[in-house]
Symmetry: C2
Subunit: 116 residues, 2 copies
DNA sequence: CCCCCATACCTATCGCTTCTACATATCATC
DNA sequence: GATGATATGTAGAAGCGATAGGTATGGGGG
């Protein structure tokens, strides 16, 4: 319940998070944001002004598709799901992220850098 | 000598890398870029058009100070070194980075996320 | 001697993403 | 009927890294 410590997300990270959450199944935007915040133990906070443009971008790129449905609570919401292209994108972005983390770890001198 | 795989650096990462490299001792810009590339096993490539503006920004913020000296090969170069403020900044940015990596790891479902 | 490459610095501009701030609408609860 | 959570959206600002240029020097090969 503390305020999220990670106020700013590095560029490109949001796409990865969205894609990964949607790999668990279709979900609407608001729920995606909540899921990210909860799963990250309140460290990551996705702003609405970042979330919806990101979803639209991913949809335009063909990584997501969406349709309006009713939520559990009986409200209209836009449910997004991964397309085949989105799944591919998730894989490449995940690999890219891990490589980045490992590379930065080498610079920082993290012991994990040598592990493997 | 493969081409660097990480073409784009996420926003904010470059400062961290520069500060960390300079924590090892004063160095000029061109050498900083080389060091990052080598230490990361050719994964990270720092473009000159990113490097020099970043150095100037960090200098303006008081994280670095610079003066011209001769390199080993007898050429003029601008040697940067960490200020006290820069050292503080390095620590906070490092902590921030680790927290980010852990949080994203939780979303991705990395086993490391549970470790600790 | 000349050309090329690595070294070493710099800047203008673009592109992209995220953030801030605002606007809208429904539903449940008090 | 007011309030807060749910749910979506846009406009504008800000920041950073990348692209693409430019300058200058030194060393090695042809």
């Amino acid at each position: 319940m503390g305020a999220p410590a990670q106020t700013d997300l590095p560029q490109g990270t949001l796409d990865l998070l969205i894609l990964r959450v949607l790999a668990l199944g279709p979900m609407h935007g608001y729920a995606i944001a909540r899921r990210i915040q909860q799963t990250s133990r309140e460290v990551l906070a996705v702003q609405q002004g970042s979330l919806y443009p990101a979803l639209h971008r991913l949809e335009n790129k063909g990584a997501l598709s969406a349709d309006w449905k009713l939520t559990d609570t009986g409200r209209e919401a836009k449910f997004y799901r991964l397309t085949a292209r989105g799944r591919t994108r998730l894989e490449s972005e995940t690999a890219n992220w891990r490589q980045l983390v490992e590379a930065v770890g080498l610079i920082l001198g993290d012991p994990e850098g040598e592990r493997r």
